[in-house]
């Protein structure tokens, strides 16, 4: 995995874990990679990996089995879907509109493009 230079790595690993849960790579009650695996495979400080995992524990997406490792919490996928839907406006729509304005695209033109996106995607 290549990390972007500017964002804290633990946030990037947390994102990757969330993506993995969302797409089903790590099913609920399935084990996720250990801190050591992250440190060795990605050549990162274990404290960084630990921070990412702890973040997901706080969010209720992972749970710890003592002496065994970290597992995906039941309901984690649903939880992620809901929070993604909630932040969709802020994450995508705001930026989309800002860029459309910068480029001088009208409201109607943008709406037509979104329509087209749905059609092409079907």
């Amino acid at each position: 995995m290549d990390f972007e230079g500017e964002r804290p790595i633990f946030l990037q690993i947390a994102d990757q874990l969330r993506e993995g849960i969302l797409c089903g790579a790590w099913p609920e009650d399935g084990q996720v990679p250990s801190i050591t695996e992250y440190a060795v495979n990605y050549r990162i400080n274990p404290a960084t990996a630990l921070k990412a995992v702890n973040l997901l524990v706080e969010e209720g997406l992972l749970y710890k089995k003592r002496g065994v490792g970290m597992f995906v919490a039941p309901g984690a996928r649903q939880k992620l879907l809901e929070s993604r839907r909630q932040s969709f406006y802020k994450d995508y729509v705001e930026g989309l509109v800002r860029e459309a304005r910068n480029l001088g695209l009208s409201r109607q033109e943008l709406a037509r493009m979104i329509e087209r996106g749905f059609e092409d995607g079907d």
Partner: protein
């Protein structure tokens, strides 16, 4: 348990290599010792390893004076120096290492030699530059000391061997937590391994901070000179430069929206380091 530098100074003739350095290196932490050539990194490590005496101040390892037998048993510095008779064979050197490194893992050293493709039947003096470095790196990776410092560890290593070194370093750290000090100017490739950065500049300690807090904490903002002038009025500027009418400045990343016409890009550790050093160089001149 820690390494402590208190008010350490060291000169060589008229050159002041270290100026009043005070810092604390905790146990089981990975530090990056960063600085340009001549910043004092090697002097600092040589004092820690007991090969040099500080002119003033004191250095202790878990409370024991650096250079004392007790401190020497806890610290291992991987540098240029060869610790073995030159015509000794690599294999024999690994077996002999226990004499001065009680925790040395000779079996592991032989395995690592295989991974690196180091011929252990060769004499130490006959190793190429690259394999000479690899030989010393293996000593560091297997030394079993509580505090291990690597002085420019990957110089002369090809990309594959550098990557292998970083992997083995993390494997070793996971299996046996200890303090690792990586002195390097190849910041970009080591940045992710480091928990904390210690930045030296011309013998001064410029900054000691968690690397995560430095990533993206600063950004470069650029735009037309007249807009930049207005924008930078109330900002603390780390460094700035101009190309024609375009001005670029390194400032703290406050995340606030920028005035139209200006662009921001966050800096990684290496970029931040470069800006910081440029600024420090200007201060010296000015």
């Amino acid at each position: 348990m820690a390494i402590e530098f208190e008010g350490v100074c060291r000169s060589f003739g008229h050159t002041r290599a270290l100026e009043n350095i005070s810092l604390r290196l905790e146990e089981n932490t990975i530090y990056g010792l960063l600085g340009s050539n001549g910043a004092g990194k090697s002097t600092l490590l040589n004092i820690l390893g007991g090969r040099l005496l500080p002119g003033r101040g004191r250095v202790t390892v878990d409370g024991e004076p650096a250079g004392s037998d007790k401190a020497q048993a806890r610290v291992f510095i991987v540098g240029e120096a060869n610790l073995f008779p030159e015509d000794m064979k690599v294999k024999k050197a690994f077996r002999a290492a226990r004499v001065f490194l009680p925790g040395f893992e000779a079996e592991k050293a032989l395995e690592l030699a295989k991974e690196f493709g180091l011929d252990t039947r060769k004499r130490v003096k006959n190793l190429s530059t690259g394999y000479g470095s690899i030989f010393r790196l293996i000593l560091g990776l297997c030394c079993g000391a509580d505090y291990v410092a690597f002085d420019e560890p990957v110089l002369g290593l090809d990309a594959r061997h550098r990557d292998l070194f970083y992997r083995l370093l993390m494997e070793g750290y996971a299996a046996r937590p200890h303090t690792i000090i990586l002195s390097t100017h190849l910041i970009a490739e080591a940045a992710n391994l480091l928990e904390e950065a210690v930045i030296l500049h011309r013998g001064h300690l410029v900054q000691q901070a968690p690397t995560e807090s430095l990533r993206g904490a600063y950004c470069s903002v650029s735009g037309p000179a007249r807009l930049m002038e207005e924008y930078l009025k109330d900002k603390r500027v780390v460094s700035q430069s101009a190309v024609g009418g375009l001005r670029t400045a390194c400032v703290e990343n406050d995340g606030a929206p920028l005035p139209p016409g200006l662009e921001r890009s966050p800096l990684d550790l290496q970029e931040y380091f470069i800006h910081l050093m440029e600024e420090k160089d200007k201060e010296e001149v000015g």
